[in-house]
């Protein structure tokens, strides 16, 4: 039962990846939609970022949660360094410093 549901979930997931690439003719999309699609990264990734910071185990965090500090450090470091590794590590380490040292 679990196996068949995994395979089913896999097929559905594959269709989410494949449908727009292989099945839908891009000419069907109008110019206005294409212009809006340029915002997809900015419109999608905050839905992963915000809950990843502000929600822990289904509940809102406190305002002094170390994740907020880590995120602010990561945003500042990322903005000025333009470096992905520096962004991730600065966020993680500043988060760990608060958890383990303070």
């Amino acid at each position: 039962m679990t196996w068949s549901s995994i395979i089913f979930a896999g097929i559905i997931t594959y269709f989410t990846r494949m449908t727009m690439v292989a099945l839908v003719d891009r000419d069907l999309l109008g110019e206005r939609i294409k212009a809006v699609l340029a915002y997809v990264p900015s419109a999608v990734f905050p839905a992963i970022i915000f809950p990843g910071i502000f929600i822990t185990d289904g509940a809102f965090i406190e305002m002094n949660d170390p994740k907020i500090f880590g995120a602010i450090v990561a945003i500042l470091v990322g903005y000025f360094s333009r470096n992905v590794i520096a962004t991730i590590l600065s966020g993680l380490f500043s988060y760990w410093i608060i958890i383990f040292l303070l």
Binding site: I6, G10, P46, I49, I75
Partner: protein, 228 residues
Amino acid sequence: MFTKKQLLIKGLLSVAPHMFSVIPFGIVCGAIGIELGFSPILVYAMSIIIFGGASQIVFLQLLSGGASTLIAVTSVGVINSRHLLYGAVLSEYLEKLSFIKKLLISYLVVDQGFAESNKFFQKNKNEPYLHYHLLGSGGTLWIFWQLSTLAGIILGSFVPEELGLKFAVPLTFIAIVVQDLKKLDHVIVMITCGLSSLLFFDAPFKSYIIISPLIALFVAALVLRLKK
């Protein structure tokens, strides 16, 4: 003009820094599956069959929590429906590929690979072999996802929960969008999406992950209209 090999390597290098987040998250993902009492083969098979981090965790958590398989499968579908948006963006650059190649490369469309390859595509629209960049980015993510979930399955409970490794996930996406904070229209779209995701977090089937991008894209359309 770049050769196929150069594009493949560029794709690989573009996602390499994200491994600092992909590997910890993969380990957590594998470890959670074992912790919840699922068989190692089953937990690992998901990395090949589903190949979508967050949805794999949610699937196992729902099943172990006693939810029906219908609910678990639906949730995976809803969480991964964001790929439809990635596909719509990428289709412009993959248009010329044969149908078979489109079917094959689609399997490798994932968040970070989409994000980095899309950035490259926007600057190099006229390259003939653009899909090799996606092959490089998606392929690299695939390999490291397999290895890291496998490591998590083997390490299992040795991964200390206090490390909060899941926090690497929002950080990797901050790195992707942070330069767009320079553009007011993008900031508006990002904040709309972020606040919507918190507002709709408890909506059924984790649907906040597709509801909030759709709201944000609607706002993007309004912004575009105002800019004219």
